[in-house]
Amino acid sequence: MPNNSLANKILSVADDSFILGHRNSEWAGHAPILEEDIAFANIALDELGHAQLWYELYQELTGAEPDRVIFFRSAAEWRNTQLVELPKGDWAFSMTRQFLFDVYENVSLERLVHSTNPRVQEIATKIRTEEIYHLRHTSNWVKRLGLGTDESHARMQRALDELWTYALQLFVPLENERELIAENVVPDLGILRDAWQEKTVTHLSASGLQIPENIDSVPNLRAEHTEHLAELLQDLQQVARSEKFGVEW
């Protein structure tokens, strides 16, 4: 059932963007400077917009309505990586996470624009240019903080040490993903990982940061989550789920 594999893949892509967008939105009103408050709110909104396009495709494939998918799934039913669900941490942590994710999205999108599936192809083409702005922004900040003060450097290194293993989950294939690769619907994650690694390592090294060498066990299954996802969903879903506001959302 190639359609089923495609639906699973699209859901994982949508969930990653959505949860990361939600985490980024938590900086609204709390970022260290006004400009960054505005920038992160924009990036959050972009990610939610991209998630929406992917959820619409998921609906075309499965019939599941985006609002149901977002507001009425329990943690074990979400297919995002643990990378994006971790609490926002300090500014260095959120910036490093966004940078690692932006590089992944850019290397992925520059291949998805050639997907043999016309809907995947058009969505990827639509959002690719927006992602170029994200990567440009986070690349600049990674360098500025990595080469900045002792404190900013230390915080960036600590963030990177914690996030690197989590980021590698982005490259763990889903069940039956091989079918999609064989049909050139999505790129091979091994190739993406090489491209991602080359770009991240080059930029992080130029920013004075050390790439972690001891890789802990990379989270393997997208159905498995940290306790942080359930907390996030409690926050996100409580209004939609409350009887008072009812089924129409």
């Binding site: 400009e35 505005i38 920038a39 972009d46 991209h50 639509k126 959002i127």
Partner: protein
């Protein structure tokens, strides 16, 4: 009802529907309205989002329906299309002048390669000086960046290239 209204009249009416976030330019001038056709007794308008996450999309959709209903058209369908993706190169010459008069520097014509223009100087919409600097690549809406003009000492915004 529909037969009495021509496609040209519909386009003219839509050219009066302003962009909700930039009320000096119409959605037609912005290149957001892509196609108008009449099928049976329904007017079908295709529109395309500028930025995917643009929160004004629903407002735009409703404004189109409202405008056409006012023309006496009972059945209006607004479709969202993604392909070809919207680009700021589609903003008409006239709209660029209006953006500038509104205090928004128009985006560069980039021909599909936005990154090439990232470091190009942006002219201040008030005094035309290119002695400007970017203060934030993100602004009050998804489609704007914030600049400062060193010449006339004014902050201004640019409509981002997409």
């Amino acid at each position: 009802m529909v037969k009495s209204v021509t496609i040209d009249e519909i386009w003219r009416a839509l050219d009066e529907v302003m962009d909700p976030e930039i009320p000096v330019v119409s959605m037609v001038e912005m290149g957001i309205v892509r196609e108008v056709k009449i099928e049976n007794d329904t007017v079908i308008v295709s529109m395309t989002p500028t930025f995917a996450g643009c929160p004004a999309l629903d407002v735009m959709r409703n404004a189109i329906v409202e405008k056409l209903r006012a023309l006496g058209i009972a059945r209006v369908e607004v479709k969202t299309v993604l392909s070809p993706p919207w680009t700021s190169d589609w903003i008409s010459e006239g709209a660029r002048a209006k953006l500038k008069a509104f205090g928004l520097a128009p985006p560069p014509m980039h021909g599909g390669n936005v990154a090439l223009y990232f470091d190009e100087p942006v002219a201040c919409p008030y005094c035309n000086s290119t002695n400007t600097r970017v203060t934030n690549n993100f602004g009050p809406t998804l489609c704007r960046a914030i600049y400062f003009c060193r010449n006339c000492q004014q902050p201004f915004e640019q409509f981002k290239a997409l």
